[in-house]
Symmetry: C2
Subunit: 623 residues, 2 copies
């Protein structure tokens, strides 16, 4: 990896920062955030502006360019990568280290008095704008919105915004029609006395209309906004996608409908002016509901007194609770995914000893097996296929420069998943194709104990996921070990593999309570820098639990694993398991045998079936 | 309990709300908060203004009186009590219920346009003022500070503010001189670039100067403020307490000292004018550090640009980490406390079957035994002595109307503690003096498992206490049970029995990380309304833990119980314990025998010693 040479680009950017064609007054600094206009985690190539200007293409990072300086803020996952990808024009600001200034403090320290700091108001979330604007103002500077994105003015070869065809999902996948979702949304709006709701997150638009797209890699979403009134539906979307007869039929664009279900289709780029018109026409007590993470531009379109901002939108919360059709779809997707992984692991077991399988080959093979399954669409994220020391890099993705050959001497960690039309998967298994050391088995077993502690936990209705995080760590903590990431995230249903508003992490406190029908991952790990990485991840469904008593009639919840892929028993030190844990493993493997075994049989995959049966032999605990 | 008749009082209050002698303009509403000017949890009789105006004397509640209405906000612990103590003039606002309006929303709904809402600026914390003021302003009203407390103007028999003699603590108790504490504080101030620190919490003043008082029941504090500059020390305190030669000597008031350690003693009431003078004299970049919970009056004395507000002050954080002298003192105090409780439980075992011991008699007897111990000062909180159904009332305090006789048929719960000159105790034991039912034993054993899970937990340095809360609940959750309070609170060293900034609770996220030397309680419980209450509470010290490995060299922590009182083995269903839990109980009891046994022997308390030996017989688990 050689750094991107940015001298000329920075010169050009500094010129447009003073060019009256783009800025009303010169700006002394320009902020280039990571995201797109929808605060997406995964973004399209046309939105990779920070990577374009700096060369650093990690998933998180904010660039700030002033007349004299160029600085990049990123977190611990990316210190090394950013240092490699950026040239000497850039200063790396290592977030989380004690002496690293915040963006605001740094700006205040380098800017001349009374400076203007520019940012694209469509990219910066309103809550961030507020914080930064306040800090700058109190130091005598101004944060100003620059309408035209200045990176776009110098990015001559900027790719086009994708505009790919849409997929319509019928009731057998979604369980609820888009009309009924609109009805439910309007009833939530009525409860809160709001008249309008602005849908800005791409997965929320997709979920609401039971449509999917492929504008962003790994996430089956499409670029669009929606504005839902009590009697109107406006969908802001570009291209000829609305010409597709299937889409027209699905959205009933050509039918005679009650006016409140008639969808008005408008150009993607007209959202701001339309919202400004809504804002201008509001009468007293008419509130507009937005996510507090919506862009500054859209938030500002509504006068302050009329805004109703919440951290989680009603769609985000409704989307998280999967209905029976979605749950069944997720089950099917996970069975198919398990079939693919049984094939893969059986193949790896035979091929790895030959010394010909690299991390990239293994990842490609996993994709190949998955793509043979019905309704496969694409992967749900970049496959983490890592062996030996690469396994300790938590967000590793094999590239030719780092690609390592799997061997019988090293632990192999595979974190991968797919989008099927009926569901989204995300599973991590850690394997050894030779003989693991006692220490490797010991660490694996602590991670497994943590995984089981969460998966088998019983907890009251209304419990927030963050209260379960320590269960996953307890066995590791007892021996002085730990892992530096959260334990789980929400998972979409043929949607984003990471979704709010629930999860299992010590880092958050604002998560919504878990309820039956929610789906999260359970993925504790242990990583030894320079040696190996271990992670055991299942996607699990929140289900009601039967308990002996029922305090205050609150009811209890627990988890049911949707992922049904064997956990390598060779890696388990059975003597470290309690009887209860041992039974959990055996029952889990029994279920893998029954459910995935039947599907392997049905698909005629006999060799993989034999592998599954071998790998799911019951553990025997020495008493 | 008959309600207090408040018709006449409310009439008087409504008159002074319009009296130009007290208010610049009439106020249409007047807020009477719970606290005193120091945001104390326990308050002196002269500060019980809300109880005076309403009759409701629970520990939490806010009264608001308008021209037409009088309303009281309180939480679930006090719904019944408030309803009993208040007459028909009052509307009870049940906090935590879905339909209960907030104080702001209620005010907006009942006030005529453009109203003024008055409050004593010395009683309302700055953060509350800010929130309420903003809400009222956005509805067209104004929150205004009323200098003279309007309750005091009508409270003709208001008790005097206490002004009791001080106790000086030498190095053998405190470990660090007040001079060295000032030096450490100034170094924290220099780190944050602040020039002044305002000490507003009573326990922080007491801790800083190594003084104790008895102005407030149960809390060994005295009414005072302090303002620490980089070169000056000002102590605001009333009465002739500064005439006491021991205090003068302790504070070196008559010695020739370096000027920066010379304490300037000023009247308690002059804090505001002195602070205003400090505020007026500040030059650019001179900041003043205050708790964000300091009163609005004191916070306003400092111009906004010069304020440095934090949720926890440096004194609060330093005070929480006990040094060797304090830890040793706490150990001694807990041994003496255990001696008193061995005597008590031995006495109860003999007396309860006679049917003559009531909850109040048992509480008095506990105090009697404690008062026989060296350096006993007073109780550390009102003793919770409760039997049968009273045990399910979490904040129960026996009064003649509720006083129940202990019997061999009911569970008895005693939550009590004392202030000794060398330390503060807080211990809960749950006993049965006859034969507990299988169900009572089952519930007790789940609570015990939770207690042990926290007490024996090993966790990384830097872990916040709230991450341990679920460990205490896991065994209860497994059976569908739970308890509706936090698991632990910080404990002072001959100071307040509840202190920040750490604790073990699902309710908070803003606690400071646990570190070696901190002291918290571990007190899970289970309560069955109308039947019984169970709680097992030890005070525990955070200590370094030895672990097999040491991830990232972070080091690990665990707890050492300071409380050494037998846990009634009769209440334990041994078959529900794991081997590890069983060993924990046996080792704990062995330590009680050794440490407390030796002290009972030394004090010649042979009968109580025999009781201790009986009660600490090792448990035997059936394999």
């Amino acid at each position: 990896m050689s750094p991107k040479i940015t001298t000329e680009l920075l010169k050009q950017l500094r010129q447009v920062m003073k060019n009256p064609k783009y800025v009303q007054e010169p700006v002394q600094a320009y902020i280039v955030p990571s995201g797109d206009a929808h605060q997406s985690e995964y973004i399209a190539p046309c939105d990779c502006r920070r990577a374009f200007i700096s060369g650093f293409d990690g998933s998180a990072g904010t660039a700030i360019v002033t007349e004299q300086h160029a600085a990049m803020w990123t977190d611990g996952r990316y210190f090394l990568q950013a240092a490699h990808q950026m040239d000497n024009n850039w200063t790396l600001m290592k977030m989380g280290l004690k002496d690293t200034p915040t963006q605001e403090d740094w700006l205040v320290s380098v800017l001349p008095e009374g400076s203007k700091v520019g940012v694209d108001p469509f990219i910066i979330p309103a809550d961030q704008w507020k914080r930064m604007s306040k800090a700058l103002r109190s130091a005598g500077h101004d944060l100003v919105p620059v309408k035209e994105n200045l990176i776009n003015t110098i990015w001559t070869e900027c790719p086009q915004r994708p505009c790919k065809p849409l997929i319509t999902l019928d009731l057998s996948y979604t369980g609820v029609s888009w009309r009924d979702k609109i009805v439910a949304l309007r009833s939530k709006m009525a409860e809160r006395k709001v008249m309008w709701f602005v849908v800005t997150a791409l997965d929320e638009v997709a979920w609401l209309f039971n449509l999917r797209g492929s504008d962003v890699e790994y996430n089956p979403v499409f670029f669009a906004y929606a504005v839902i009134g009590m009697n109107t539906i406006r969908l802001f979307i570009d291209g000829d996608r609305m010409m597709d007869p299937a889409v027209r039929e699905h959205l009933q664009l050509d039918s005679t409908l009650e006016p409140e279900f008639k969808i008005q289709v408008l150009p993607y780029g007209s959202i701001l002016s339309e919202l400004q018109a809504v804002g201008a026409g509001l009468s007293t007590k008419e509130k507009v509901w937005l996510s507090d993470k919506a862009s500054y531009a859209l938030t500002e379109a509504i006068p302050k007194a009329y805004r109703y901002l919440t951290p989680y939108t009603p769609i985000c919360i409704a989307k998280a609770v999967k209905n029976a059709a979605e749950t069944e779809g997720m089950r099917r997707a996970h069975i198919k995914d398990a079939v693919a992984l049984c094939e893969l692991f059986n193949w790896l077991e035979k091929e790895v000893p030959k010394g010909t399988v690299t991390e990239i080959i293994a990842a490609d093979k996993a994709e190949e097996f998955r793509s043979q399954q019905k309704d496969f669409v694409e992967l749900s994220f970049a496959t983490i296929s890592s062996t030996g020391p690469n396994g300790a890099i938590i967000h590793y993705k094999p590239v030719p420069e780092t690609n390592r050959t799997l061997s019988v001497n090293e632990i192999y960690l595979l974190d991968s998943g797919a989008q099927y039309k009926d569901g989204t998967t995300d599973v991590t298994r850690t394997m050894h194709f030779g003989t693991p050391s006692a220490y490797e088995k010991e660490c694996f077993t602590y991670v497994l104990k943590g995984h089981i502690a969460v998966s088998a936990a019983i907890f009251p209705n209304g419990t927030k996921g963050h209260l379960l995080d320590s269960f996953a760590r307890s066995a590791l903590w007892d021996c002085g070990l730990d892992y530096l990431h959260g334990t789980g995230h929400g998972v979409g249903s043929f949607l984003n593999v990471h979704e709010g508003p629930c999860g299992i992490s010590y880092k958050t406190f604002a998560d919504e309570p878990l309820e039956a029908g929610m789906i999260v991952s359970d993925e504790p790990g242990y990583y030894e820098d320079g040696s190996f990485g271990i992670r055991i991840e299942n996607v699990v469904l929140v289900i009601p639990a039967e308990t002996k008593y029922n305090f205050k009639n609150r009811g209890s919840l627990t988890f049911e694993p949707l992922t049904l892929v064997p956990i390598q028993t060779k890696m388990i030190d059975v003597n470290l398991l309690t009887e209860k844990e041992c039974n959990w493993v055996n029952e889990y493997h029994q279920k893998c045998r029954e459910v995935v075994g039947a599907e392997l049989e049905r698909q005629g995959r006999h060799e993989a079936l034999r592998w599954l049966l071998r790998e799911t032999e019951p553990l025997a605990r020495v008493q």
